[in-house]
Structure formats: structure tokens, C-alpha cells
């Protein structure tokens, strides 16, 4: 059941990854090298509990390998937890890595349709938003070129322009603002501030502490798969920096 205002509910979530040292992929290898299939279980997340509400902008911080991206992937339902439960309420979009869901041979315009339909929009809804998306991406006449000819910055602009214009209730972003020039970064931050005002929920994975301080209402520090600290961004960052520096 959805509690009032709650958008993302994470309850006692555990996630293990199997690390194969030398994975036997085919049947032949499985039979011939049955003993080669050594694997090691690595606990990536241990008993995570979080409740994220309407209008919150949450930053997930922590050193590399602390489970931030895994938690974000669990929220998008790309992977599933081994134990525990994750529920999201409302429409969700995610920007996990650059160019998620783009088809390289299609033009930028065709990819807008393709990408937006992945987020569950109908043709009519995409038609209405098409101009906004193209304007936001500032791609101009490049929009009709195949996406494989784009630079990584252009790729990112298009991906971000789509994700931000699909009217989602929840936006999940993984380390994406690292790309793009200053002008576009500022523009994205402004747009996200607008969305925050509208009461949308956002979760970021980031290493840029300035962005966290400037923009987020809450910071969650993950350390070796557990929530080390959860609270007001300035306090969490202070503790985090004290430990890691």
C-alpha cells in the first residue's frame, strides 16, 4: 500500500552479485570445465531501508563500489532484489548511462519517438512534446542526422532532453551531468529546480558535492552496501569528506 506522499519505498533490500572468475558460457565449456565455474558471492546491498517522498531531491553519495548505482538500477526495475521489496509509485524515467535506448542508425528525431515510447508515451503525447524536446536539446538541424554521428555531448543532450520532458513523477539520474558544457549543465540544473518546485521526486548518484549542496534536499551516504548516514546534505557531506579525505 502506498503511504501518503511516498514515491519510492525500499524495504529491507538485499542484493548479491555473482562474480565469475572465468565464466563458462557455452554447454561445451560447462561440461569440459565444470570446475572452472568458480564464483564468488558479493553482497552489494545489505538491508537497505529508504522512503522517498514527493518533492524530495535525494543524492546518493559514496565511494566507488559502495552500491549507489545498483540501488538506482533496483529502483528502475532493471534488476530485482534478492530479498526485500522495492515499490515505486507513479511514472518513472531514468538516465542510467549515456544514450540509453538510442538506436544508432535512426535520426535524432526518430530516436525521440523510440526513447519516449520506451518510457510509455503514446504517439500523440510525443507529438505534443516533440518541439520542446528538440528546443531543449539545442541540436538544431542535427536532429535529423543519425545518432551515431553525434558527439558524446550531443548524445547526452538528447537523452536528457527526452527524459526531462516526459512528465514523469520520478526522475532517476546516474552521474550524467559530468558530460556536457557548462552552459548545458546550468540549463539542466535550472530545469531540475523547476521540476523540484513542481513537486517531482528526484534521485541522483553523483560525486559532485557542489551539486548536492546546491540542489538536493537530502543526502544518503552508502558505504559498503549499507546506509551509513541519511539526512541534511551539508551534514552528511561533512562527515563523508572527513572519512574519505
Amino acid at each position: 500500500m502506498q503511504e501518503k506522499n511516498v514515491r519510492i519505498e525500499v524495504e529491507h533490500v538485499y542484493k548479491d552479485f555473482n562474480i565469475y572468475f572465468d565464466k563458462a558460457n557455452s554447454l561445451k565449456e560447462k561440461i569440459l570445465f565444470w570446475n572452472r565455474n568458480k564464483k564468488e558471492k558479493r553482497e552489494v546491498l545489505k538491508d537497505i531501508n529508504l522512503q522517498i517522498r514527493d518533492g524530495e531531491a535525494v543524492a546518493l553519495i559514496g565511494v566507488n563500489g559502495s552500491g549507489k548505482s545498483t540501488l538506482l538500477k533496483l529502483m528502475t526495475k532493471i534488476i530485482y532484489p534478492d530479498k526485500g521489496k522495492i515499490e515505486t509509485y507513479g511514472k518513472l524515467t531514468s538516465l542510467l548511462e549515456l544514450g540509453a535506448g538510442f538506436h544508432p542508425d535512426f535520426s535524432g528525431r526518430e530516436n525521440i519517438y523510440f526513447n519516449a515510447s520506451i518510457f510509455g508515451l503514446t504517439k500523440k503525447q510525443i507529438d505534443e512534446r516533440l518541439q520542446d524536446i528538440i528546443d531543449f536539446s539545442e541540436l538544431g538541424s542535427y536532429i535529423d542526422n543519425p545518432v551515431r554521428t553525434y558527439s558524446s555531448g550531443m548524445y547526452m543532450r538528447l537523452a536528457f532532453a527526452v527524459a526531462i520532458n516526459v512528465d514523469a513523477d520520478i526522475l532517476l539520474v546516474d552521474e550524467i551531468l559530468a558530460v556536457g558544457d557548462q552552459h548545458f549543465q546550468d540549463k539542466c540544473i535550472n530545469k531540475m529546480k523547476e521540476l523540484k518546485k513542481e513537486g517531482k521526486t528526484m534521485v541522483f548518484v553523483t560525486h559532485s558535492m557542489n551539486t548536492v549542496k546546491e540542489f538536493c534536499t537530502r543526502a544518503v551516504w552508502l558505504d559498503k552496501g549499507i546506509v551509513r548516514m541519511d539526512g541534511e546534505p551539508n551534514e552528511v557531506i561533512e562527515e563523508y569528506l572527513k572519512e574519505t579525505l
Partner: protein
Amino acid sequence: MNIVKNLYKYRELLKTNTKKDVGGKYKNSFLGILWSFINPLLQIAVYALVFQVILKSNIENYAVYLCCALIPWQYFNSIVIRGAGVIIDNGNIIKKVYFPREILPISVVTSEAINFLISTIIIVIFVLVSGLGININWLWYFLIFAIQYIVSIGIALIFSSLTVYFRDLLHLLGVFMQLLFYATPIVYSISDVPASISWLLKLNPMTYLIDGYRSIFYNATMPNFEGLLIVFIMGIVLCVIGYLLFNKLQKRFAEEL
């Protein structure tokens, strides 16, 4: 019933994906969509040469006889082969963004079904050229087509999810489909098969479907409804198994790819 709701919600994705498949298949080839016709025509020519001229089959209008079976078989064949690879081929998207994964096998089946509809023109041309003429029983085509679609969905769901875990299936299926081609009454008639092994052929859903297409186009009679009912039930069972299997296996797709 979750699957129906999901499919409706993501209908636009299903549509773009299917369109991409149908149009994109021959995108960079010189003859384009014409390959949809040239391919089966060449195959019919080869089989007709081997079985009619060299092996002297006594079936009348052998080219038409062959054509009614070969075109549906090609549809079935591409479902199995392309369906088996569809999740692996789209690994990039699956690892990055959520959408109902069953969209992928279903859009393969749908785009191949559209290709099959287009190729059916070949059957019609063969029938007309050989002087068999149009008859009212052709209307049953749509019923048989619908049943084959259901069977195909089930098969695509099963193989698309299994190959993610057992990559050998991709290669095994290539060989298996060649064997199955001869274990299906395509180049011969089921009535020529000794009773001792014909039960084996009756386990194969394509046996009934091809018999149906042949009845309406080649014999100009009504299809065998008992056979169609059997294959319809097979289709439903395959869909249920496919759905349960796919649902279970899809949870770890992003990790296995």
C-alpha cells in the same frame, strides 16, 4: 492479466519496434523489400527442381503444393531463429532502461507476421497462375493465421528467455530447424508417411498449420477443424508455459547479458 495491461500501456513502443523491424530488415540492401519475394521464390525453385525433376514426385502442381507450405514455414523458422536472439541482441537497451521485456519477442513475432502477410501474395500468384482460381475457403486463411500467431508468441517467449542462460541454444536451434524442416510435411504429404512414425509428425504444430494452408489454397476445401483445434490448444499451452518461464527468467536478464 498484467501482461495485457502492460502491452496496452506500451503499445507505442510495440508499434515503433515492429516498424523498425519490418522496415529495417532490408534497409541497406539494393533490392530492398523485393528480397521478401526473391528469397522464397528461389527456395521454391530449388526444392521443385530436386523433388519434382530429380526425385520425380508424383504430386500434381508441385510448385503450388510446395509454395503453400514453404511460405508459412519460413515465417515459423524466422520466429524461432530471430526470437531466440532477440533478448541478446537488445542487451544494450535492456541494461539501461526499464520497459516490459516481453515487448521484444512479441514485436519480432508481429513484424514477421506482417512479412508473412506480404509473402502470402506469392501463394496467391502461384495459385492463380496454375489455374486453380479463387475460392471462398481462402477466408479461412485469417483463422489459420491467427492460430499460427498464437503458437509463435509462445515459442518466441520460450526461446528468447532460454537463450540468455544457454547461449548454445542459438547454434543448436540452427541445426534443429533443418531437421524439423524434413520432419514437417512440406516437401512431401503426410499421407505418404508410414503410420508407425506419423504420430511423431502430429506432435509438431506446423504439421496442422501447413495442412490448413494447403487445404484452402491447394485443395480448395475447408481446413481440417479438428487439426486446427489441436494446434490452437498447443498454442495456448505454449503461451502459458512461455509466459511463466519468461516472467521468471527476465528478472536476471540485465545481470546475465
